[in-house]
Symmetry: C2
């Protein structure tokens, strides 16, 4: 059963990552921005079935975590572009592992 395990330290590293990258929505947003920078409306379309409120709050957390940067162009109306940061790009290993596992699963007919 759950003895005092040497991997307590490794569990902390997994927990640290999950605390930063959050859940499914933020991971899908990160995935899209790892492909290319996006406007808000493009993110809403590509992430799909995400509410405006959740998308805005997830983007706010990702910017605060230093994984995404937000650029506002002083056009009328102002244009807002989201881009992955270097810290965000360092998550590519996590996303290729997620992609690899998904590829290995039987695809829905």
């Amino acid at each position: 059963m759950a003895s005092s395990r040497p991997d307590r330290y490794c569990g902390e590293a997994v927990r640290r990552t999950l605390d930063v990258i959050g859940g499914k929505w933020s991971m899908l947003i990160l995935w899209e921005l790892l492909q290319e920078e996006c406007r808000y409306a493009e993110l809403q379309r590509s992430v799909g079935s995400i509410s405006q409120k959740v998308l805005s709050s997830e983007l706010k957390s990702l910017v605060a975590a230093g994984l995404v940067e937000r650029e506002v162009e002083a056009t009328v109306p102002p244009q807002v572009t989201y881009r992955i940061t270097e810290r965000g790009r360092s998550l590519e290993g996590v996303f290729s592992a997620l992609q690899q596992w998904g590829d290995d699963q039987p695809h829905p007919k």
Copy 2:
């Protein structure tokens, strides 16, 4: 901007994985069970700050997804043990990538 990207297919694989493994809580549960089988109370202690309702519902989804199996011993009271399945164990690549990224981050003082 977001052209019709060749990686639309890869995005589906990432989404498929996230649909199965869910969010932070289910991933922390999977991480613990990848270390060793656990009783319910042990999971509650090791995952930490998770409510009984959320833990029960996440375990139900993980069993339904075939990532975790649940064994009930006919003792009085009955003892319930949770164990990772082979399908669950195939997620080790995702967890080592999560752990690697967490290790690379500056540790909180």
